[in-house]
Amino acid sequence: MSVVRIEQATREYTQGESKVYALNQVDLEIQPGEFTALCGPSGSGKTTLLNLIGALDRPTSGSVFVEEVELSALSDSERADFRLQKIGFVFQAFNLIPVLSAVENVEFVMQLQGISKSERRKAALETLAEVGLSGMEHRRPGQLSGGQQQRVAVARAIVNTPKLVLADEPTANLDSKTAHALIELMARMNSEHGVTFIFSTHDPLVMESAKRLITLQDGKIIADQKRKS
């Protein structure tokens, strides 16, 4: 069973009197445990595709299934609950809640899920240690570097073992060394825990790390390459 199945998904926007196709009749399947990069120029549809898979947006036509649940059929509150239970997110920026410490940020999603305090604290500390942030658990985001903040975001995204982690240009604001380290971390989480990752990027070095590279242009998939790890 595929984790993600997209059938003829189109997302169009209206700009004045003309229609713009951010995604145009896209078909795609992602299998469990894949480590997939979406690449392509700005405006090619990477973020739109991630938003549709992440139940943040609805296609104008076509269908998006995650774990065989058709996301368009869900109400707003059901989609919020679906995101909470099934998907981990890493964004390009504004990833963390500034008034919470690193460990509290990682705990946040579990807290929303109603997991007990002791259980979530233990899991959060273990995950922060896994992403190399031992000793920084009680620092607020403002006391962490950009790379460290993204590591906390990855920790938050994977701490409750979601089926799928979506990362929208997670390395865009990082220097190349930090970016590479972050992608290595994501790749390790993918291989060690079998979490499916889909991330968008412009960075050729990051693309190199992907096991599958999907290229988009003008809202269409123009290439889909699987690589050997």
Binding site: L56, D57, A80, L84, V159
Partner: protein, 427 residues
């Protein structure tokens, strides 16, 4: 990282757990509390606005309540009392024809059974005072000085001379201003004239032994007090009186006491001060109404300020709110978080505002001298010193207004934040 088997199933999390509300609340409270300290200056300015609004309103209310209480007390303790017992018709035509028997044992028993009450019988008829130089219309009041002690200023020589001694005292006490009007002095003799019970002119000479001063000019110029038995003898009604005045220790029992007396003595006209002094009752009621309107205006301004502050805070954190929603935070948590944030500001503001208001009240409690406005105050029947008063009901009403309107003012920004589309704000 959590083991997979520990992970809750889809839909088994927040929305379905039994303690969902308490979890939402504690998470929202944690975020709201910390957000308060995020922009300390803004939180402090908002808090100050609430404190100043509440504190100054309390101080102003205590001043207005002081005026109101003084007006009422001046009236009640200047003969009116809380309750008056008369014959029907006396209020419209207060002459000797409207009188009733005294002592009446049933009535006396009823009066003695009213808990914590003071009462006194009086003869009260219109008449004239004649000095060697002037003649003036006045009200002649016969009193029992002993019973009047706790009841009114009647019979007390507060300015000069001596008090009336007992019911058979044949002296006279008049107001300081009446001395001037009739151009008389202490220890001079004057003649009081009135209509006797048999429609003849009743007159008698009295020596003025005392003078009183009061805030009410009409009382100081228009009343002369002598012993009850003396007045009864002069008018020819040795076993009758014009009225009984009652003062209650606990004025909240006014309506109950009046209705009980009315049931027992339907032949008598029993009125409360609210009925006897309708103008004063209307003024007091109007003052309360104006105060509540004032509460509303002040609190509305505070609520608008708070709404503006919350919008500023939301705009500042819009991407953070979008992030919360993107990871699956229910809109209700965002809504509650904003409400808690403003509630915390309101509660802190209400507490410190009330405390500052009470401190202000303590400072002005010894009295505010309004001597600069003495003429106007005299016209209103006020003394030059106003003693502010504070009522628990005013404090509770003000704080209830504050919390209710403040929260109503925050509902819109909270709703606005909870409905934010994460995609639009994160891009």
């Amino acid at each position: 990282m959590m083991k997979a088997h520990n992970k809750p199933q889809h839909g088994a999390g927040f929305t379905n757990t039994a303690n969902a509300f308490s979890q939402i609340f504690s998470l929202a409270f944690q975020l709201a509390w910390r957000n308060l300290f995020r922009n300390k200056r803004r939180s402090l300015v908002t808090l100050l606005a609430v404190i100043v609004g509440t504190g100054s309103t309390i101080a102003l209310v205590s001043f207005v309540r002081g005026i109101s209480t003084q007006l009422v007390n001046d009236s009640i303790f200047h003969l009116t009392g809380h309750i008056q017992i008369r014959t029907p018709g006396y209020q419209d035509d207060p002459v000797v024809n409207h009188r009733f028997s005294w002592p009446d044992q049933a009535l006396k028993n009823a009066l003695e059974n009213i808990p914590d009450a003071s009462w006194a019988p009086r003869v009260r008829v219109p008449g004239v005072v004649v000095s060697e130089r002037e003649t003036r219309p006045i009200t002649i009041v016969g009193i029992d000085p002993e019973l009047e002690e706790k009841l009114s200023i009647a019979g007390k020589a507060t300015f000069k001379g001596k008090n009336l001694e007992d019911s058979s005292d044949e002296s006279l006490i008049v107001g300081d201003r009446l001395f001037n009007k009739i151009k008389s002095e202490l220890n001079r003799r004057v003649v009081l004239m009135t209509q006797s019970v048999d429609n003849q002119v009743a007159d008698r000479g009295f020596r003025i032994v005392g003078g009183f001063r009061t805030t009410l000019e009409s009382v100081e110029t228009g009343f002369a007090f002598t012993g009850l038995a003396t007045a009864q003898e002069m008018i020819g009604i040795p076993h009758e009186i014009s009225e009984i005045s009652i003062i209650l220790e606990d004025s909240s029992k006014l309506d109950l006491t009046v209705s009980k007396l009315r049931d027992e003595f339907p032949q008598l006209a029993i009125t409360s001060w609210l009925e006897a002094e309708p103008m004063l009752a209307a003024i007091t009621k109007m003052q309360s109404g104006i105060l509540y309107v004032w509460f509303g205006i002040i609190v509305f301004a505070v609520a608008m300020g708070l709404m503006n502050t919350m919008f500023m805070a939301i705009y500042e954190r819009i991407k953070e709110i979008a992030l919360l929603k993107a990871v699956g935070t229910p809109g209700s948590l965002v809504f509650i978080q904003v409400l808690i944030e403003s509630t915390l500001l309101l509660i802190l503001g209400a507490i410190f505002g009330t405390l500052s208001g009470l401190i202000g009240f303590k400072i002005i409690q010894p009295g505010i001298d309004i001597g600069a406005y003495a003429t106007g105050a005299e016209m209103l029947g006020l003394s030059r010193i106003i003693y502010p008063q504070i009522f628990l009901s005013d404090l509770l009403t003000l704080n209830l207004f504050l919390l209710t309107l403040g929260l109503l003012g925050t509902i819109y920004p909270a709703w606005y934040a909870s409905k934010k589309d994460p995609i639009k704000e994160l891009q």
